[in-house]
């Protein structure tokens, strides 16, 4: 053995320290918190009560279903747009497709708060101007209505994430051997046939990765939600992360909010295990 025991410890202990202090210890305390009525100052143990109340709390249930609905819609749209972009930027190898790649990816660089404000301007001022110019009521008051407010967050998120997911599809598309496609072309295959019979099957692992990346990210969405609608009107667009934040730091029901945090953790974990099982199956 080249590395002795005390040397090994010197290499790994700093990392162990950070992971324990910042994640493991708070996580364990958090499990305890979820069984208390903590308000940040004092707390006492109340058993499963937080969870019982949560499942009857209409605000929580609404934000939970909103998050599920949001995740479902965004996952589909982001992957469709991301795949379409990937096909566009890999269709030729020239300066146009290179700059397209840059443009499609660019929204992903911007933080959630800035994105939220950018789209707030578009949905209020720009949409209002379009509504007035073309007499289209469709473009009126997007953020003051629960259902268009929901679609507003979806549009923002699709704009942010599609370029990211595009990169994943691009890397898998580039991994398809060129001569496979050339052979198909020589045999007289059409572009649509090449897509459905050659490219699509090779993209299966990319689908799993992208689906679950989008899913995990949409479950944790907070900043975009805050800056675009701040949960309004009347908490109707408040997703689960914002619900946890507001319950903990605005209403100071920290034990109760932590119970919702544990539910969020369980959801993300279940989703991740499904992904793991699926990708194992693909490899095997």
């Amino acid at each position: 053995m080249l590395i002795k025991k005390h040397q090994y410890l010197a290499f790994v202990l700093p990392a162990v320290f950070f992971i324990l202090l910042i994640i493991v210890v708070p996580f364990l305390i958090g499990i305890y918190y979820s069984f208390t009525d903590s308000n940040g100052l004092r707390s006492s143990f109340i058993g499963w009560k937080n969870f019982e109340v949560l499942f009857q709390d209409s605000t929580f249930l609404q934000s939970f279903w909103l998050t599920v609905k949001f995740s479902f819609v965004s996952v589909i749209l982001i992957n469709l747009v991301g795949l379409a972009f990937a096909l566009i930027v890999t269709s030729h190898n020239n300066r146009l497709t290179k700059s397209l790649r840059t443009i499609f990816f660019m929204p992903n660089l911007i933080g959630g708060i800035l994105l939220g404000f950018i789209w707030q301007f578009i949905f209020t001022s720009a949409f209002q101007a379009i509504a007035a110019a073309f007499h289209l009521d469709f473009f009126k008051g997007w953020l003051s209505n629960p259902s268009t407010g929901f679609w507003g967050i979806v549009i923002l998120f699709v704009w942010q994430m599609s370029g990211y997911i595009m990169l994943i599809y691009v890397s898998f598309l580039n991994a398809i051997p060129k001569n496979t496609i050339q052979a198909a072309v020589l045999d007289g295959a059409k572009a649509t046939q090449i897509f459905f019979f050659i490219k699509l099957p090779q993209l299966a692992p990319a689908f799993t990765i992208s689906l679950f990346l989008t899913l995990a990210n949409s479950f944790k969405l907070y900043e975009q939600n805050l800056a675009l609608t701040n949960g309004g009107p009347y908490r109707s667009t408040e997703m689960i992360s914002m619900y946890i934040y507001n319950t903990a730091f605005v209403n100071f029901q920290q034990g109760y909010a932590q119970a919702a945090g544990i539910i969020l953790f369980l959801c993300v974990t279940i989703v991740s295990f499904i992904q793991l099982a699926l990708s194992r199956k693909q490899e095997g």
């Binding site: 910042i22 940040g40 800035l114 946890i244």
Partner: protein, 271 residues
């Protein structure tokens, strides 16, 4: 493909790209107007043209200060994350044993935990000992990022042949020296990936800093932008000028390092 279809496709792609880019354009256009110009037509330029908003926004955002706060926090966090996770990953890749496997699974497991599920106890833990400042923010950023970084580095170190370590040991180098001078430099592409991924995440982060350093003088760019937005009272020309200023640093950096950024982001997702 015929030449005419090729041109048509290029044209179509161009329109899609323009449409995708338009939100950036609309923000810039309206940052260059007065309040009246935005009211008249927010979709394109009007005769109302001014650079004055940028000056006002720059001062209101305390931009020099916010920029350096963001920079210091990002640079300090990224340095600590990179060193700590590279060292741990190196040991994991060289010494196989129960402790190494436990640590590897600990990293994979903690990656599952969403920040929102630990933020309340984390904050009360640090709040109780009155340790909420830039140093503790760096510590928290590190704790939240080492797991993924270790897993990324681990993959890279696995690809570096152990004969290198053995040769160095024969020459009398201690493991620490071997790591610093031979093995760590050998994975510099992965170091680039880890640096870029964490820098982007920390630079753009709002939620954690808002809980830890939400005080005057310590504001990072996203924090200050959020506060400033509340103060503008729907004076969009100022808010938009502030948004443009806030986006400029990361966009410039991206345009300089485009290729590396896109490879890093892909690698971070796929590994």
């Amino acid at each position: 493909m015929k030449k005419s279809t090729k041109i048509l496709l290029g044209f179509l792609f161009g329109i899609i790209a323009l449409f995708w880019f338009y939100p950036f354009i609309i923000v810039i256009i309206n940052a260059l107007k007065g309040k009246r110009g935005i009211f008249q037509n927010p979709l394109w330029f009007t005769r109302d043209f001014t650079f004055a908003n940028f000056k006002t926004a720059y001062q209101a955002l305390d931009f020099t200060n916010s920029f350096f706060n963001s920079l210091i926090i990002t640079v300090a966090s990224v340095i600590v994350i990179t060193l700590v996770s590279a060292a741990a990953a190196y040991a994991l890749s060289r010494v196989k044993g129960p402790f190494s496997s436990i640590l590897y699974y600990l990293c994979a497991g903690t990656m599952l935990i969403p920040f929102q599920s630990i933020m309340i106890p984390l904050l009360s833990l640090f709040g109780k000992v009155n340790f909420l400042n830039r140093t503790s923010l760096v510590i928290m950023n590190t704790g939240l990022s080492v797991s993924l970084s270790i897993i990324l580095f681990y993959g890279a170190f696995q690809g570096v042949s152990k004969t290198l370590d053995e040769a160095a040991a024969l020459d009398g180098a201690y493991p620490f020296k071997t790591f610093v001078y031979i093995i760590f430099p050998a994975v510099s592409p992965m170091t680039g990936t880890v640096v870029i991924l964490n820098a982007m995440k920390i630079w753009n982060d709002y939620l954690l800093p808002s809980l830890v350093v939400n005080k005057d003088g310590m504001y990072t760019i996203p924090l200050k932008m959020y506060a400033f937005f509340g103060e503008t009272n729907s004076q969009w020309q100022l808010a938009l000028a502030g948004l443009v200023l806030s986006m400029v640093p990361i966009i410039i950096l991206f345009l300089l390092l485009q290729k590396q950024v896109m490879t890093s982001v892909t690698e971070g997702a796929i590994k």
